[in-house]
Amino acid sequence: MDRDQDRVFKALANPSRRHLLDRLRADNGQALGAVCAGLEMTRQAATKHLAVLEGANLVVTIRRGREKLHYLNPAPIVDIHDRWIGQYERHRVRALSDLKKALEEAHHE
């Protein structure tokens, strides 16, 4: 379990890779060209970053015809969440995170 989580934390310890995950969260299931479009990195760099994310199971790919679609896989993050937060606290943590989001949205308006 710890070796898997090492890979997850290493994969997440990079702003470009976190940015790629953000893009997949916003629009899940993209082909390589779409994931890379408009990025401030080369296609080769993006491909390498995606490979690291795949190695950590944070991104999974599914073939659809000729295309390979990239999906954000929440499973490793859920495992980390469960390890330190657990089921009982889930709702309290969620309530606080909703509160933070609401306050920050109000602040930015």
């Binding site: 299931g29 999974v60 679609l69 896989n73 929440p74 499973a75 089921q87 009982y88």
Partner: protein, 167 residues
Amino acid sequence: MSKPEFVYVSYIATTAERMWAALTQGEFTQTYWFGRRIESTWSVGAPVTFFDRGTDVRTDGGVVLECDPPRRLVYTFRPEPDEMRRWGMSEAEIARHSSYSRVSFTIEPHEGVVKLTLVHDQLPDEQSARDFREGWAPILSSLKTLLETGKPLPPVQSVKEKSQANR
């Protein structure tokens, strides 16, 4: 072909047969799936029904599309309109959610453990995609705990039940 809306891949230290049993037998599902008991004869075309724990109250239903034990299980899925009423959804919302989505499980042996891939697609809209995404995480993490330790996690409220309670 529409692309899948939600994909979840988890590596679980168990056997394909135990995984299959956990997905298809009601006494298992009610320990990790918000207390839901699944029932079906698991032949293609047969109904799949979810019941609230220990009752005959139907919560969700669908039809078996593919069944290849212990490798692949696909069924259509939709919450029962009465269940959506219990969540407090308006009749207009219920009408929007009356179509069936599709749930596909693939089980593959992988380096001594089992790779479980869930694809949930043909969802009616973005909002229900978000709701299901939030629902799957506790179900699948609890399934993993059950299979790896023999003990399910303590029951959690579903997202809908929670928003109901907070209203």
